[in-house]
């Protein structure tokens, strides 16, 4: 399972120009938590220009990829020794999910069922969106055999 990004001391973000603002935002967010975050903006992910940069990173650092071609870069990183769980691909549709049971907000890459980081309930994100919390409501998933 993927860890929360804030648990990494060292993070490398690689972004294309289109996703630069989003990548910067992510960088600031993590820097505010005192993480070391390097941001590299290139014209196109997956063009093979980042190998050197990738191999310089300390072991156990996280890699965030923002932009088209992220999967190609992920493959390169894995071939250089990165664990898939340390690689985070930011797609346009990333979602903040508001736990209806404990009110904790979890960032989701996919919109599928997930487990709340805080209360461990199984949740299902919904279309119900709050522009106040900037998050989608996530409902508990009912397991019928529960008693």
């Amino acid at each position: 399972m993927k860890k929360a990004l804030k648990t990494y001391r060292h993070v490398l973000i690689i972004s294309d120009h289109v996703h630069r603002e989003r990548a910067k935002c992510k960088q600031r967010e993590l820097q505010n938590r005192d993480r070391f975050v390097q941001l590299k903006v290139i014209s196109q992910l997956g063009d093979g220009t980042v190998e050197a940069l990738l191999s310089e990173q300390p072991i156990g650092s996280a890699l965030i990829l923002c932009g088209e071609g992220a999967l190609e870069t992920e493959r390169v990183a894995v071939s250089l020794g990165y664990a898939r769980n340390d690689i985070y691909i930011e797609t346009q549709q990333q979602m903040r999910a508001f736990c209806s049971q404990c009110h904790h907000i979890t960032s989701l890459v996919t919109h599928e069922r997930f487990v709340c980081e805080n209360c461990r309930n199984q949740l299902e994100p919904s279309e119900h969106y709050s522009s106040y919390h900037r998050a989608h409501l996530a409902y508990p998933v009912f397991i019928e055999s529960d008693d």
């Binding site: 508001f98 209806s100 049971q101 404990c102 009110h103 309930n121 919904s126 279309e127 119900h128 969106y129 709050s130 522009s131 106040y132 919390h133 409501l137 409902y139 508990p140 009912f142 019928e144 529960d146 008693d147």
Partner: protein, 314 residues
Amino acid sequence: MSSKVEFPFPFTSDHYEYTNNSSPLIPARTVTVSSNYVEEVRLKRKLLEENHERCYRSLPISLESQWETLLLVFRELATYEPEHFSFKRRGNTYVFTNHLLQEEETFVYRDHSSIDFEPLDLVGRHVQEDLIVMGDRHDGLFLEAGQLCFPSNWSLTFVLGMEFKTIHTPVPAIAEFIEKVERFITRIRPNTAWERKNWSITISHKLDTPLETYSDWGKLRYHVTKENAGELVNLRVEVQRLFRLPVTNDILFSIHTYLLPLNELVANDDWLKKFYTNVKTLPQELADYKGISLYKPELLGFLEKALKRRKIER
């Protein structure tokens, strides 16, 4: 008064549809004191005590309307239920007396240091209703404060700060209807009140069914049988009122929730028949939304047996 006599039976026709079933209320009241007053107010306070964050939320922008609501509701109680409440002013100081609970609240209007809770949180501890303040801003109606102990599967924290239309997103096929409702609300005149009823079903006699504890009470929905439905299943009716606050121009939305076990409901032939036809003709997506689909066959089976016993034609 017995709880059955005062139960606000919601069905007027024999099928269910979205209608703006609001009607003007004269006199313009926001709260009702029912025979369960003491018991329900105690339960509200217990829930507030134990889960304040879940049951009370406000934005600072709501404070003026909260004070207005406090005065309004205390005045209303003293005016219409003088045997139970009184409200007096001595100089700058107001004194509200609740004779049912033998309590007194003393405060200076708009002086926050004179009360222990926020104004809405204080006045809400003297009524059975949940109270919501909807700020009427130029770009919509926003939920800016609420004391909510008895919600029907929704979260006050989540909807805090949200606009009226988006609050209703989870309700199936409601978008067009709810826009009309919003236009209706924005036209409500100061000092006037409108009332409507909303219904759903609760399994067990439980008023506090917030989304936050769904995993506890929601599982009871799997336990309904034709045999136990009379006891376990309750028709839940919310009497909702909309009142335009004359000073701030915001809307006070009050919700008084009533529960009636089916065993009591089926003793009234007219209620039994109307309830049966409404449940039977309820569109699938609404039955899903209201959580009825899980036990609808058992529920209908119970009602059909009751109809047969009482020799009522379906």
